[in-house]
Symmetry: C3
Subunit: 359 residues, 3 copies
Amino acid sequence: MTIRLRPSLWWLLVCVPVAASLEHWAPQRHTWVFGFACLAIIPLAGLMGRATEQLAERAGEGAGGLLSATFGNAAEMIIAGMALHRGLIPVVKASLTGSIVGNVLLVMGAAVLGGGLKHKHQRFNATAARSQATMLILAAIGLIAPAAFHHLAGRGALLAEGRLSLDIAIVLLATYVCGLVFSLGTHRSLFAGEGHAHPAEGGNRWPLSRALGTLLAATATIAWMSEILVGAVEETAKTLGMTEVFIGVIVVAIVGNAAENSTAILAALRNRMDLSVAIAVGSSVQIAIFVAPVLVLLSYWIAPQPMDLVFTVPEVLAVTLAVVVASQIAGDGESNWLEGAQLLAVYAILALVFYFLPG
Amino acid sequence: MTIRLRPSLWWLLVCVPVAASLEHWAPQRHTWVFGFACLAIIPLAGLMGRATEQLAERAGEGAGGLLSATFGNAAEMIIAGMALHRGLIPVVKASLTGSIVGNVLLVMGAAVLGGGLKHKHQRFNATAARSQATMLILAAIGLIAPAAFHHLAGRGALLAEGRLSLDIAIVLLATYVCGLVFSLGTHRSLFAGEGHAHPAEGGNRWPLSRALGTLLAATATIAWMSEILVGAVEETAKTLGMTEVFIGVIVVAIVGNAAENSTAILAALRNRMDLSVAIAVGSSVQIAIFVAPVLVLLSYWIAPQPMDLVFTVPEVLAVTLAVVVASQIAGDGESNWLEGAQLLAVYAILALVFYFLPG
Amino acid sequence: MTIRLRPSLWWLLVCVPVAASLEHWAPQRHTWVFGFACLAIIPLAGLMGRATEQLAERAGEGAGGLLSATFGNAAEMIIAGMALHRGLIPVVKASLTGSIVGNVLLVMGAAVLGGGLKHKHQRFNATAARSQATMLILAAIGLIAPAAFHHLAGRGALLAEGRLSLDIAIVLLATYVCGLVFSLGTHRSLFAGEGHAHPAEGGNRWPLSRALGTLLAATATIAWMSEILVGAVEETAKTLGMTEVFIGVIVVAIVGNAAENSTAILAALRNRMDLSVAIAVGSSVQIAIFVAPVLVLLSYWIAPQPMDLVFTVPEVLAVTLAVVVASQIAGDGESNWLEGAQLLAVYAILALVFYFLPG
């Protein structure tokens, strides 16, 4: 295991300082900063994936998935919090949308496709997956309702809009807590996988301290690199002729979810679809009914102006369509490579819409 | 059993005359009239629930559920018919919306949550539940189609709107009759439950005459009290600063569905989920594809002007979202407490939207 | 078998020449041309159904379904191609919409109803059906996305609209190819049915050459008759007071899908639901993610102006609602007559909307 890690450690020892130095001494070289930050994040995501798998082995698949989702979203929460602090509310909303859509379509699509090419039929706990899919539907309703209110109530109801958003945020957070009690408490066994906790392919088990330490260090470094990357991505994209929304929804989300992507694909390749689906769908659920509502609440303290839950029509539509297709695929407890290709096709269609949509 | 009924009988002997007297001699004391009518309905709903369970024991779970849904909706049909007679079409539509949404979200949510807190996993016949869920989707399409037509065809197509509504009403009624032939005729066994017809917890079985007599008397008294309550609820609400639509969609619907609520929760607590789901979803289906179309047809005789099926955008959206989440939860033939919490969360979000929506 | 075919052969020897002669020498007698073309198509569809069943027996149910869907859609592709060549883009889009909606609602509805009246419960491979249903959802998203873009991006984005349509068409075609690799390659066994390939009721098996020859001749004659019929249907309908869109969506689609209708119903009556569902849903999928994108690409060569994927709001809504109800019904791998009636009821509601919608 140590031998397999060495190349990526070397890689990190190069990319992280280069990205940081460029950002400090040559911030105008956006494309280079962007490139090195990306190059740094990819092995970090892999490292994080391995550490998460080591911990997941101890915690059971579902709790391991929760763990992995939490650490995968820590970076996004920090980035979004900073953007919120600067009052960049449209960017926050675009990156939340991109993370929700990206996790269930891109991450789950890649995992199901990769796993399905190796294993003809893959199975996972349908009850757990449906429970997560229902959370996604709830999350979509939590975005549809304020957006519909915005268009139906008209300009005179801005005050009501803020109060409605706050109340819906509280309902979503309460449901998130219920979900935690369910998956970690009363129905833990559902999420514990069905005993196919074969040892990691590398064979050796890390000590708990090493797994935890690696996970924390990798998370912190990903957060740091992500921040550098996000700072540079806007300018980089401008030179490439993309809109800010496209960057938020697609680019930031892809990079921000590299960790989940790598862990979910690894898990799918090892035929541990319970873990893989828990990571992909769980991340989306967590962003939609935990991160987004928390940001709404936080915005009253840390932002120049409060953030509401009124997302734009393309954002709400993208989340709704992603949720519909993801529920359909996750609902029966089995997957194959075609379903992965279908998820990726929907992702491609939505990405094209955001790409061509005027800024 | 006689001993257990006595307190609620005493209760009724107080509340029913007090509500009726207040309404007659002090109709301006809206809040008191409202309060006593509510206090009268709650034990009546319980009494009705017991009588329905006694009959359901004889009739099989599905037919018992139909029975219960019919008697639960009798009150609503009378109320809606009276409002229609007075030309209060928006109030009729709001209370129909509230009943459809309230049954699948509030009633089913409370039943699934309550039942799930007592029993870890509950099962019900998935084929019967999916058949009812498909009826709900059909009902939603029956509301989406005229609303979409209204917005697409423009002002010049008012005449076509009425004819379209009439034709769709006939299609819905024909499907309702098909559903009855299916659940009471060709596929009765699907709805008969799986033989877990343990005797009612009280132990003793009522004679048929007592069960029927109690059911009829309770239904009639509920209808009477509901009418008094509805007459007072508008003024009561005005003093509380609510809109008429909110009253129709939420308050009238909650009170009108108290009977189903109590019966469905009782059934869920006794782990008879087939009966519980049949009541909750069956009531919504019955209101959407039987009560609503019948009111459209009746409006040509009893109303000052004909009623169409063009509901407002928030009403159609609420029904659609409720149907989507209810199908997702009812579709797999198993339930747990989290699903109940999720249904209630969606209900809370929709109720908030109607609460904040300007009148 | 020869004896059973003779009446329909006689029928064809009368109707085909009469329809062709009328169209040539008395083209102004639109109603007669229309009537005889219809009378010719009905037995042709039956003949085609028999030949397809003979081939399906050899090929396994799923591949047989694909075969049947391909030959059923050959006629539609020719008709649409000719309309496209003449620049009648709204007619092409209306007939594509009608074919997608008609196959999953009318054809599947009639097959499920007919089969269900003969057999109490019918089963089919749920994994294969869900895979097709997911393709339908993907197809609906492929229509929702450009229509939403059209309404969100405004008038200034016409160029982007064309490029977006082209790119989405390529994504859909790539997914279609993936679907073929899946159903004919890696997961062929899923679509091969479960060994209930009892011999055709007639008892005797046709030689391969006769089956293929009949299929090809019937397909060619159906294409010819369909063309005559489509040429006459517009004028016929004008005298009946219908709009062009209604003709495209409902009339052309019903006639164009007579072959699938007859084959799917025959298969359902013989309790071969795998074949029946594969034909109905497979035809819709093929039209949405193969025929439509191919026409978009072809339009750059054969049409006076390129065709995009921006369908009208009622068209997109009809496809979306049809897909939702079809996924719900196909998703559990079992069917009964009520589900057939429900599909037909949704078809009736959509047909009414298109009937009343101003031109």
